[in-house]
Every structure is written in structure tokens, then in C-alpha cells.
């Protein structure tokens, strides 16, 4: 699809509020979790989640069974909290579920559609259920399908669609009513590389428009890294990490990975004496965060003094994979 960035993107706070929908709190965080717990029978799935999330695109990560999808379902009101609550745009999911759902779009992980319907009919039905009048719903359905790139195939029955087209149709139904928050659950599942790129491009466009916030749940760290500004890592029903990816990257700008031969500990202590933080990783490697004023040549000088060979030296920053793995190793150390 061609570049679809709007010429005049409006800031989030000024989005037109639907006339029949009570005002959402413009300054409120996108999502606020207040000790949210979900229990299925006696099995706790989410345990006292707390936090405020304000990003335009929030990546939801975690191993299988961590509770990512349950968290999305809880926010959509599918599972009532066993204790605590959550707020979306300042509204309580327990008491204002309908008002909240009027402003939310949801793209489920699994195939969800009505097979014997044409795509435009299906998307129109979903728009009408969101409260749009029939004429407006039909118009928006056409527009949403053109937007996601299914314009030419919109009169085909959904049952005849390929997997990639079905994913795009699911995205179309999630955005047809112009929600302010879109939950995308594994949007690139089963897509080939071009289709995946297309999906990610659409997600980035929506994010960059500033008109809707996105919560992207995915197993693919690369997808989250490409689309999200903030990440929330859930592990065993608890929040393991919540961080801003950009800030994290900036903080690790001078992060060095050094491979050495020779007495490593004295070398590391000499580096620490310069005011740099270090961590010994594998047998021959250490990680160093350079402080301002410390140059690479200082490291070579210390290495010469300590009779240590520097075999390899790479500037590196914590990738999302590092952050994820670190989060998984914390606590009981199991992934």
C-alpha cells in the first residue's frame, strides 16, 4: 500500500468524541491497572497487576501461558476481574464496559469471522454493532477495506480468503468504527514476509497518525520492536518488565561487549576505577557501559597495562531480545 500517513495528524487528546458516547478523560493514561487479578476457578491467571501505560504503541510480550491474551480479554470485559480493576481512558472496565468498548477495536488471534459473508458485509455488520448507522457503516466498511488493502477483494466471501487476507479483514473490522485504542493479538500470525511487512506498515501508520493507541501482543520480538514504543512483559501472570524502548536504547548507547584473553578480573576492576559499570558475562567476555569522558583508547591502554588481549570489541545496545531474556531469567530463572 502507498504511504498512508495523514497530511494533518491530530494529537490524541483532540479526537472527536462520538456524540452518544460519554466523554473519555483526555489526560488519563491509555490503560491503568489497579491490582487487577483474574482467576479461572481456583487457578490465578493474572496476579495483582499494577501500572499506567500512556504510550501510543504498547507491546505485550511474554512466554506462552503468561497471561497476555487474558489481560487483553480482561480489558475488553470478557473475563470479570476476581479482584482489583483496570481503567481505560480513565473509565472503569467494571462499571463502564459498554462505553469503553465503543472506543476499542479488537483483532483476535484466532480466525474470527462469518464464512458465508462477503468481507464488506462482514465489516459493515461489525461497524453497525459498534453503533454506526447503516449508511455510515457501509461507507466506513469500504474505506477500511481500501485502507488495509482489500479494496479489490471486498466483495469476495471471507471463506475464500487466504490467511493473509483474513488477517487484514480482521484488522479492517477492528478499525472500521475509528476506535481510540486497538488491541492486536498476534496480528502477524501465519503471514509470509511480504504480508507481515504490510501488516506492520499498517500498524505503524495507525500509530503514527496519533489518532489511536495500539496494544500489540506478539510472540515475535521483532514485530514488537518495529512497532512499539513501550513494552510490557508478562510472566506467570505478573508484570516482569515495563519499559520505554526508546529510553532503554538511549540509556544503553555506550554499551560495549568485549572479548578478552588473559586475566579478566583485574582488567575489569581497572575499568571500574574509571567510573564505568561492568558485568562479567561468559568466560572471556565482559560488558561495559562507558561513562562520559572515557574513550576506547583508555580501554586499550588499561588492557596493555594488565597484559590482557582485546580480541573483539563491539558497540552494542540492549536489544528487545536481551530485555526479554533478562526478564525471563529474573525471579525463579525459568523461561
Amino acid at each position: 500500500m502507498e504511504n498512508a500517513l495523514p497530511k494533518t495528524a491530530e494529537p490524541v487528546g483532540t479526537v472527536d468524541v462520538l456524540p452518544n458516547t460519554p466523554e473519555l478523560v483526555p489526560t488519563a493514561p491509555v490503560i491503568r491497572l489497579d491490582n487487577l487479578s483474574i482467576t479461572f476457578g481456583k487457578r490465578p491467571i493474572l496476579r495483582e497487576l499494577r501500572g499506567e501505560f500512556r504510550g501510543r504503541a504498547i507491546g505485550l510480550l511474554g512466554p506462552n501461558g503468561a497471561g497476555k491474551t487474558t489481560l487483553i480479554h480482561a480489558l475488553l470485559g470478557f473475563h470479570p476481574p476476581s479482584s482489583g480493576t483496570a481503567h481505560i481512558f480513565g473509565r472503569d472496565i467494571k462499571t463502564d464496559a459498554k462505553q469503553i468498548r465503543g472506543r476499542i477495536g479488537y483483532m483476535p488471534e484466532r480466525d474470527s469471522f462469518i464464512a458465508n459473508m462477503t468481507c464488506v458485509h462482514f465489516v459493515r455488520l461489525m461497524a453497525e454493532l459498534s453503533g454506526l448507522p447503516p449508511d455510515a457503516a457501509l461507507e466506513r466498511a469500504h474505506e477500511a477495506l481500501f485502507y488495509v488493502g482489500l479494496g479489490e477483494a471486498r466483495y469476495r466471501k471471507l471463506g475464500t480468503y487466504s490467511l493473509g487476507m483474513k488477517q487484514l479483514a480482521k484488522l479492517a473490522q477492528a478499525i472500521v468504527h475509528g476506535p481510540r485504542l486497538i488491541f492486536l493479538d498476534e496480528p502477524t500470525n501465519g503471514l509470509d514476509p511480504p504480508a507481515r511487512q504490510r501488516m506492520l506498515e499498517l500498524i505503524r501508520q495507525i500509530r503514527d497518525s496519533g489518532l489511536a493507541s495500539i496494544v500489540l501482543s506478539s510472540h515475535l520480538l521483532r514485530d514488537v520492536e518495529e512497532c512499539c514504543e513501550e513494552i510490557l512483559i508478562v510472566k506467570q501472570g505478573r508484570i516482569a518488565v515495563y519499559c520505554n524502548l526508546e529510553e532503554e536504547r538511549r540509556a544503553n548507547r555506550k554499551f560495549l561487549e568485549i572479548e578478552t584473553r588473559g586475566p579478566r578480573e583485574p582488567f575489569a576492576e581497572a575499568i571500574a576505577a574509571l567510573g564505568c559499570e561492568y558485568a562479567l558475562t561468559t568466560e572471556h567476555r565482559l560488558k561495559v557501559v562507558l561513562q562520559d569522558g572515557v574513550e576506547i583508547r583508555d580501554l586499550y591502554r588499561i588492557a596493555a597495562e594488565q597484559e590482557v588481549q582485546i580480541r573483539r570489541l563491539n558497540f552494542k545496545r540492549d536489544s528487545l531480545e536481551d530485555i526479554f531474556l533478562k526478564a525471563m531469567e529474573d525471579g525463579n530463572g525459568s523461561i
Binding site: H79, R101, L129, R140
Partner: protein, 292 residues
């Protein structure tokens, strides 16, 4: 979000009233339902009986027309509670067939395609979803039962005059009430069957089977235990008892004495049955199945 702009834009127009949104489901369902010529033909045939009965009402009051057929006013059927009772029984029978044709796919299709999360992630509740699905049948069965029934009653009332209306106005209430008892039973039963039985043929057979099996079981219990309380599980007898009570026992076909139930017991059993259907629906109509 115009087609040519290809941008994401929120919707800023008016919204439909929340109370009316359940009607979206029948409106979209009829697009599919009336694509079938078989169904459309059957639905048209459902209006033959009201038409014939309207002709009978007309002939009853038109001696000139009767004379053409060499009939006298006394030779035609009496237009009374029994006349309308027969009409409602016949039309509700057609309503049952109509339910068997379209009821089994109402919810099963959504469940098979995991479409429920898409409905329920919108400002649309489970209750609205169920009522919307039931409305598909409610509207169609209404169109062939109480709506033409009340027109027929009005036609008769117009031809008979004020005194007939005064003494028979309760019949209009009976037409309406008896139709709605059937409508609620059939629509709730069919959406429950549709929610639990995914295979269309099995669900259709289940709808038939429920009436037939409950009839056989009821008769067996009555026969073996020499009681009439076996009729409590006989759906056909329960409905017949309720109908009879609504039409003040002016029966076209009387039940044998050993099958007759007290009216209160019939209402109570029907209420229990409907409550059980609702319970089954609440178990199944969920966005996601929760594994505990």
C-alpha cells in the same frame, strides 16, 4: 476515512440508539434467509391459511357471495374463540417448521467461526446478542401468527359491529398471548439448540425430537404409573394446556382426560423449561470458553 485518502481516521458522526442495536442481527440475517427460494416459498405459503380464514370471515357476512355457492350463513364455520384457536394452533405449527428451517444455524455458525468475540468486544452485550438472534425468529413467527391474527380479528370485528367486539375482545388478547408463548418457546429453544449442537441436521432433528421424545416419555410415564403427571414432561401437552386456558377451553381438539394437566402446573413447567434454556445459553454464549 475516504477511499482515496487511505488514512486512519476516527468516526465522528451520529450513533444509533443502544436499545435498537439488537435489531441489526435480524436485518442482516434476513439477507441470507431470503436468498433461499425454498424458504421464501414456504414463508409465502404461511399466509395462505390467514387468507382462507379472511375469505371465510368475509363469506360469513356476505349473503350474496354465499348464494353463489348455494350456502346459507349458518352453513359456514362459526367465527368464535374456537375459530381463532384453530388458526393460532395451525400457524404456530407452521412457525415450528419455520424454526426448524432457520433456527439451527443462528448461533452455531458464529460459534463455529469464533465470531462471538467480535460481537462482544463491541458495545453489544450477551443479552443483546441472544435477543437479536431470537428476534430473527420472533419477527418471522410474529408475521405469520398474531399480526395476521389480529388483522383477522379486526376484520371480523368490523363486519360484526360493536356488541361482538365487547363480548369477544378477550379473544384478541388470547391470540396475542398464545402466539407469544409459542414464539418465546420456539425462538429460545432453537437458539439454545443452535448454541449446543453445531451440526445443522442434528439441531433440526433435535428440535423435532424434543417434542416427539418428550411426548413418548410422557405417555410412557402416564401409562406405566397410571398418572397424568407424566404430561409434565410432554412439551406438546403443556403447550396445548396453556393454549386451551388462554382460549378459555374452547377447543378444536380436546385432550383425553388422562393427559390433562392443571393449567398452573403447565405454566410452571414451561417457565422451568425456559429458565433451563436460558441457563444453557449463558453457559455457551461467551466470548471465550474458560478452561478452569
Amino acid at each position: 476515512m475516504a477511499v482515496y485518502e487511505h488514512t486512519y481516521k476516527p468516526y465522528a458522526g451520529p450513533l444509533t440508539p443502544e436499545w435498537s442495536r439488537f435489531l441489526i442481527l435480524p436485518r442482516h440475517a434476513y439477507r441470507d434467509v431470503f436468498k433461499s427460494k425454498l424458504f421464501t416459498g414456504f414463508f409465502a405459503l404461511c399466509f395462505v391459511c390467514p387468507l382462507i380464514m379472511a375469505i371465510l370471515v368475509y363469506l360469513k357476512h356476505n349473503t350474496a357471495a354465499l348464494a353463489i355457492f348455494n350456502l346459507k350463513p349458518g352453513d359456514t364455520a362459526a367465527i368464535n374463540a374456537g375459530f381463532f384457536h384453530f388458526y393460532i394452533s395451525f400457524q404456530c405449527g407452521l412457525g415450528f417448521l419455520l424454526t426448524v428451517l432457520i433456527g439451527p444455524v443462528l448461533i452455531s455458525r458464529d460459534l463455529a467461526n469464533n465470531a462471538l468475540p467480535l460481537y462482544l468486544c463491541r458495545p453489544f452485550s450477551r443479552a443483546e446478542y441472544v435477543i437479536g438472534k431470537m428476534s430473527v425468529l420472533m419477527i418471522l413467527i410474529s408475521a405469520i401468527t398474531w399480526l395476521p391474527g389480529l388483522l383477522l380479528f379486526s376484520f371480523e370485528a368490523y363486519l360484526e359491529g360493536g356488541s361482538w367486539i365487547a363480548s369477544n375482545f378477550w379473544i384478541a388478547g388470547s391470540i396475542f398471548a398464545a402466539s407469544w408463548v409459542w414464539i418465546i418457546l420456539l425462538s429460545l429453544l432453537s437458539v439454545t439448540m443452535s448454541a449446543w449442537v453445531k451440526w445443522r441436521m442434528a439441531a433440526s432433528a433435535g428440535l423435532f425430537g424434543l417434542f416427539i421424545i418428550s411426548n413418548v416419555m410422557g405417555l410412557m410415564i402416564n401409562g406405566v404409573l397410571h398418572t397424568r403427571w407424566g404430561s409434565l414432561i410432554n412439551l406438546a401437552v403443556i403447550m396445548k394446556t396453556i393454549e386451551d386456558s388462554l382460549f378459555r377451553d374452547v377447543n378444536s381438539m380436546d385432550l383425553p382426560q388422562w393427559m390433562v394437566l392443571p393449567t398452573g402446573a403447565a405454566w410452571f413447567t414451561l417457565g422451568l423449561f425456559l429458565a433451563f434454556c436460558l441457563f444453557l445459553l449463558t453457559r455457551k454464549v461467551r466470548a471465550y470458553e474458560v478452561v478452569r
